[in-house]
């Protein structure tokens, strides 16, 4: 508290100079703090270091969250019986395909980070290939197929496109009675 009061007193003294007129007291305080951080760096223990695996985990969690949201959307669309309408049915298909794509992406990211499934050769060329470790062929196959995830996400976005197109072609105006609840 004492330090804070001393700092406030210092800021007020500075503020008395004519060149500081026009700036608020808060702005001057912030500027001083930033200058102090830049000019007098010290070792800080306040923030945690995010090492290599954390990026993967957060990405995987993101996929998980995506799965959750798409699953919930599909569930609500069914619960509200919106799938009676073609456009909203396509939206449901899109959500389900995105869910599958996310599951696929999670699996592929997981397998890609395993060192004991296959080895990559000529990576970065058109002749690149992978060779599974003995006994891991089926996992290598799963990875190989799963890696072609666009086979899921492209149909998913196509269904979204179809859903929107259908809604545009034959718009349906809902009535309050359509809200049947879950």
């Amino acid at each position: 508290m004492l330090c804070f009061e001393v700092f406030r007193g210092f800021v007020r003294d500075l503020y008395s100079f004519p060149s500081f007129k026009g700036f608020s007291e808060t702005m001057v305080s912030i500027a001083i703090c930033l200058l102090a951080v830049v000019l007098f760096p010290r070792e800080l223990w306040a923030t945690q270091i995010h090492a290599d695996p954390e990026g993967l985990y957060s990405h995987q969690m993101g996929h998980g969250f995506f799965i959750l949201s798409m699953g919930v959307l599909a569930y609500w669309l069914r619960g509200r019986r919106l799938i009676r309408y073609k456009g909203w049915r396509y939206l449901q298909y899109s959500a389900l395909l995105f869910t599958l794509w996310n599951l696929d992406a999670i699996l592929v990211h997981h397998l890609e980070n395993q060192d004991d499934i296959f080895m990559k050769f000529s990576e970065g060329t058109l002749h690149a290939y992978l060779r599974p470790y003995p006994g891991r062929e089926w996992l290598a196959w799963i990875f190989f197929l799963g890696k072609m995830d666009h086979l899921l996400c492209v149909p998913a976005i196509v269904f979204l496109y179809l859903a929107l197109r259908e809604m545009r072609r034959s718009p349906h105006r809902f009535s309050p009675q359509d809200d049947t609840g879950l």
Binding site: G55, S58, H59, G62, H63, F65, F66, L68, S69, M70, V72, L73, W76, R80, A95, N102, F118, K120, F121, E123, G124, T125, L126, H127, A128, Y129, L130, R131, P132, E137, A140, W141, F144, K147, M148, D149, H150, L151, C153, V154, I157, V158, L160, Y161, L164, R165, M167, R168, P171, F174, S175, P176, D178, D179
Partner: protein
């Protein structure tokens, strides 16, 4: 066993391009939907999802394409530096997609709430319109009904032959119908303006102010009065008899008590009643007189006969002769009175024949003119040429005219004017013979008795009081009547009304 990367590479490149393409197409479609119905939150939601998905698809697609191309081009180090950004952006973007998608439930509820509110608003609006329309109909119906009612009561008010008046408790006249104006002799056009300006007091039209006070008290006490007979005085001073029915009402708007009065003019009825009473009285007197006259006439005839026989046998100049002459004279006087009584009682024999009333007037005037000139009384005659020949007893009618003229002369005394006017009244039809004088007039208290036999205001010996009675009897015998109007100090007007035969009117019409 080896698995080539080329299919993966191909699917990745083509798929990424497709993702970018369809993501942009989805944004366009969702935007078009949003533009079509900007108030639809579901379309807004889809627009948000598509935008988030487009960010995800583009970042991921471009990232994947860049990765493959950079690796193929031998720029691994560049990709290694871009990789964390691409991966992070991917993570963030599909997290955003997921987060936005999760809002569906809330958006859907908002959408439904909006729909419900809109429907409720629409229903309320329709209901309001319906009510408004109904209200307009109701108001117009009520207005028309009110108009009809107003018209009906206004017609009653305007067309009523009786006075209808609205009077404040303090007597201020608030409204009065035309019949009322006519009855009170006030200007109907300006009555309300006048009433407002001068605060026309209804109480002032009462002959006796206490009558108005009594009426007001009764109204305030009992809230209504029925058939109250009062005497009113018109603005020109003429008196009228009226029958008042009234009710009291509290005017809540003006916060004052008002009286609603219906006033019936019964002056004519009262006159008629008096005339009937007079006629009844005179008829009774006539019966009595006829009875007495019949009984006396025969003995008088015998007395007169024997007296004349005795006179014939008695030499003239003797005392006995003079006595007999006196008896004869007074007997003749009695006989004349009896004959007059018989004329009054209409029991005397009459001989009717066609005669001109103008000739009769002239004949009578030629007899009395000299006497009138001596007393400097002017006689003016105005004869209506339309007066037809009437069937009447000329002698008796002469007697009537003589009586009326002599009465006028006696009323004038010296210096004055007698006016004799005849008129043919088609409505009836009838002939009016009006004898007016500028004499002293008749005291109102004597008016009801002037046709009574033997009633006279003259001193004893000047008249028998049978003149008007006999005239009345003669005129009644001719199917007519005598009207009298008199004002003390100004003179009297006697009007003999004789019926004219209908065929005479027709004849005259043809002649014209």
């Amino acid at each position: 066993m080896t698995l080539p990367f080329f299919p993966i590479f191909f699917v990745d490149l083509v798929g990424s391009a497709c993702m970018v393409f369809f993501a942009i197409a989805c944004v366009r479609l969702s935007y078009a939907l949003h533009i079509r119905d900007r108030e639809n939150v579901l379309y807004l939601y889809l627009l948000m999802v598509c935008h988030a998905l487009a960010v995800f698809a583009i970042s991921r697609g471009i990232g994947h394409i860049a990765k493959q191309l950079l690796l193929l081009g031998g720029y691994r180090h560049i990709w290694e530096s871009l990789r964390p950004y691409s991966g992070s952006l991917n993570t963030i973007s599909f997290c955003v997609v997921g987060a936005v998608t999760l809002f569906f439930e809330r958006i859907w509820k908002v959408h439904q709430q909006i729909l419900r509110d809109r429907q409720a608003l629409k229903e309320a609006h329709e209901k309001l319109l319906l009510m408004n329309k109904h209200l307009e109909d109701l108001v117009s119906e009520r207005t028309a009904e009110l108009g009809r009612s107003e018209q009906k009561f206004r017609r009653i008010f305007e067309a009523s032959r009786d006075m209808i008046a609205v009077v404040a408790a303090d007597g201020t006249l608030l409204d009065i119908n035309p019949a009322g104006c006519e009855m009170l002799g006030i200007d109907g056009n300006n009555v309300m303006v006048e009433a407002a300006a001068k605060k026309l007091d209804f109480g002032k039209f009462f002959e006796q102010p206490r009558d108005w006070e009594r009426l007001r008290e009764n109204l305030q006490r009992s809230f209504y009065v029925t058939d109250e007979e009062v005497a009113l005085v018109r603005q020109d001073g003429r008196e009228i008899s009226a029958l008042i029915s009234a009710s009291s009402q509290c005017d809540l708007q003006e916060k004052r008590e008002v009286f609603h009065l219906v006033v019936k003019d019964i002056t004519q009825r009262k006159i008629m009643q008096q005339q009937l009473l007079q006629a009844d009285k005179l008829a009774s007197l006539g019966q009595l007189a006829a009875g007495v006259a019949h009984e006396i006439n025969n003995p008088l005839g015998i007395i007169l006969g024997y007296t004349q026989l005795l006179i014939r046998e008695e030499p003239e100049g003797t005392e006995r002769y003079e006595d007999l002459k006196t008896i004869e004279k007074h007997t003749r006087t009695c006989k004349t009175i009896v004959e007059d009584l018989l004329s009054f009682a209409r029991s005397a024999h009459s001989r009717k024949e066609p005669a001109s009333i103008h000739d009769l007037v002239q004949e009578v005037l030629s007899v009395v003119r000299h006497n009138l000139e001596l007393k400097r009384i002017q006689v003016e005659t105005y004869f209506d040429p339309r007066v037809p020949v009437l069937v009447l007893d000329k002698d008796k009618m002469r007697q009537v005219l003589m009586n009326l003229i002599m009465n006028a002369q006696q009323a004038i005394g010296k210096e004055g004017r007698i006016e004799i006017r005849t008129a043919f009244v088609e409505n009836g039809p009838s002939v009016h013979i009006v004898v007016s004088d500028t004499g002293m007039g008749i005291d109102p208290k004597h008016l009801p008795r002037i046709f009574d036999p033997f009633f006279t205001t003259k001193s004893t010996g000047e008249g028998t009081g049978l003149g008007l009675s006999v005239s009345y009897g003669i005129v009644k015998d001719h199917g007519g009547e005598i009207q009298v109007a008199s004002e003390p100090g100004k003179g009297s007007v006697f009007t003999v009304v004789l019926p004219a035969p209908a065929e005479t009117q027709e004849f005259m019409g043809h002649e014209n």
